[in-house]
């Protein structure tokens, strides 16, 4: 029998650690973004062509982690989950931090639309018969308006979930839990629709001739997996820094590990489902997208994903042992976040330089991609640290907190 832990005797606040993280995140953000700008201006001299693509890639990466955290928060409320209460505030912080940041980050993206999407090019629009019936949906105004709407909806949902939960720390009102549960149900529908269409608009329309109805689910699987991996890393990190050292136990890591493992399989299942239907039907406008990724150099990235994004974590996390070793699980978390980034890289970059920018085509990898990962990642760290610093790291007066503190896997 596990003894109940007294959370109020624990260090549940980031305090100066959070402030330091905000400063470091901002410094990394400015340095990374500045270096990316300088590199694309001075070395590549391609009028920010690659910069725009790297920006899209890393925007999709940062936002995916926030969306995954939003999804997991909603699911905990809808299922009235008891086990997860001690880690839920971390998810709420990641969602609120990155998704409010996305409201700002989306603005430069709107300006970059003409550099990213060939459907935005007036000549292509006039001449391309395959685009003719998509012109209303894929127009500069329509896509911009939708992108802004998506990020506003996400930020509003994430902020409301975070604020309501934090308000309960003060009032201890169990009605707030019921309200969170009630509203999470319809929010999940909104989440599913907005994520699906955002993935269509942001990523799938890079090759506007191509289409895959499962594409939204594919992007979602990366969101859910990436944010669960991030949660393992984040929980391990705050505990290493002496915060909530007793409230999160091996039992919680075990469950985080199970969900991570489950979504490793889910990602592979969806990726293969998408591949196999296209491979089997063998229709020209569908296969082109896959064939690009089966030729050098992209075939190597594809193989890295098959083995590194599926087989390695599948075999590595299959057993009970690694899931109950917080350090091992956190290491897998870092590894899976890297794989998730490569997965998005694989979605975005094979389309770079294919349409109308012949002079700027290739290379398949640029240092700008990583510089902007540091840049946007740094801003995201600062935004999340800001949310986490503003409240306790655990929902102190959640009615299910005792259940979570004494939780054990059978």
């Amino acid at each position: 029998m596990r003894q109940m832990i007294d959370v109020f005797s624990e260090n549940v606040r980031l305090d100066e650690l959070g402030s330091r993280l905000i400063v470091r995140g901002l410094v990394l953000g400015v340095l990374g973004t500045g270096a990316a700008l300088a590199f694309s201006m001075l070395v590549r001299q391609d009028q920010f062509e690659r910069f725009a693509w790297a920006y899209l890639l890393n925007f999709a990466f940062v936002v995916s982690l926030g969306l995954g955290a939003l999804f997991w928060t909603l699911v905990q409320h809808v299922t009235r989950a008891g086990w997860s209460v001690v880690v839920r505030r971390l998810l709420e912080g990641v969602a609120a931090g990155t998704l409010t940041l996305a409201v700002v980050l989306v603005l430069p993206l709107l300006a970059m639309i003409p550099r990213l999407y060939f459907w935005a090019d007036p000549e292509t629009r006039a001449a391309d018969p395959l685009l003719a019936h998509k012109l209303d949906w894929l127009s500069y105004g329509a896509v911009s308006a939708r992108l802004v709407a998506y990020v506003l909806i996400w930020a509003a949902m994430a902020l409301w979930l975070h604020r309501t939960s934090v308000a309960q720390d003060e009032s201890g009102d169990p009605q707030l839990t019921l309200r969170l549960e009630r509203h999470s149900a319809w929010m999940l529908f909104v989440f599913a629709l907005t994520v699906t269409f955002a993935s269509f608009d942001l990523l799938m329309s890079l090759d506007a001739h191509w289409f895959s109805t499962i594409f939204g689910v594919y992007y979602f699987s990366g969101c859910a997996l990436g944010s669960m991996a991030l949660l393992a890393v984040l929980a391990f990190w705050v505990q290493r820094r002496g915060r909530i050292s007793h409230a999160i136990t091996v039992e919680h890591y075990h469950d985080i590990g199970k969900l991570t493992f489950g979504f490793v399989v889910f990602w592979a299942y969806i990726a293969f489902s998408q591949y196999m239907l296209i491979w089997y039907a063998n229709l020209p406008e569908e296969t082109a997208w896959m064939i690009r990724r089966q030729q050098a150099p992209w075939v190597w990235v594809s193989l890295v994903l098959i083995f590194g994004h599926f087989f390695v974590p599948f075999l590595g996390l299959l057993s009970r042992v690694p899931k109950r070793q917080p350090a091992v699980l956190a290491a897998f978390g870092v590894y899976l976040l890297a794989m998730h980034w490569i997965d998005l890289f694989w979605l975005v970059m094979p389309e770079f330089g294919r349409h109308g920018h012949g002079a700027h085509a290739g290379p398949w990898f640029s240092v700008i991609d990583l510089l902007l990962l540091i840049g946007l990642g740094g801003f995201a760290v600062a935004a999340v640290a800001h949310r986490l610093r503003g409240a306790a790291l655990v929902p102190l007066r959640d009615p299910r907190l005792p259940e979570s503190l004494t939780f054990e896997n059978a």
């Binding site: 029998m1 596990r2 591949y275 196999m276 089997y280 299959l318 054990e408 059978a410």
Partner: protein, 177 residues
């Protein structure tokens, strides 16, 4: 009923979970191996108190899953590429993407059946009868009482020693074959 009745084991009845945990630790430390706790609901921490090892079932299931995957692949290779080659949608006779769903299903099938049968094999179920069922009082094990039973065929079983050990926790009673 005539004939000889042979002692099957000794049991003691307990009322509370903490008593059960304490008693289980004592029986564990006394070195018994053929003994068990019966509770009306799952008791966290009892595994450790009883000193139960983790089951080896996962290893067997993993092996069965691997065998299923290989069998699924080999079956399709034999059927499609060797025994009865048919051109389907212009694809190669032996083409991995088309085979993966079957490989997946065979992996699950072998692993799931092995998990189910292996679980029954390891825990010795199903069985039609158990000597404890003859004890009226044992019905409370599904209601609100806890039982610790030491079987007479435990290699370390000595009736007097076992009586003394269990006697520390309550009144010791016999179970007959």
């Amino acid at each position: 009923m005539g004939g000889q009745r042979r002692l099957w084991g000794l049991y003691v009845r307990l009322d509370e979970v903490p008593e059960l945990i304490d008693a289980a630790e004592v029986v564990r430390d006394a070195g018994y191996t053929r003994w068990d706790c019966h509770t009306p609901f799952p008791v966290h921490g009892l595994n450790e108190a009883m000193g139960l090892r983790l089951t080896r079932l996962p290893l067997v299931v993993f092996a069965a899953g691997a065998v299923g995957a290989i069998a699924g692949l080999a079956m399709q290779w034999w059927m499609n590429a060797v025994d009865y080659p048919l051109i389907i949608s212009g694809k190669p006779f032996f083409s991995l993407p088309a085979n993966i769903p079957i490989v997946f299903e065979m992996t699950i099938l072998f692993a799931a059946i092995t998990a189910f049968v292996g679980m029954l094999a390891f825990n010795g179920l199903p069985r039609h009868h158990h000597p404890l069922f003859a004890v009226d009082e044992f019905r409370a094990a599904t209601d609100d009482k806890f039982f610790i039973v030491i079987e007479a065929d435990d290699p370390r079983f000595d009736e007097n020693a076992a009586r003394q050990l269990l006697g520390r926790f309550g009144e010791v009673r016999e179970v007959w074959e």
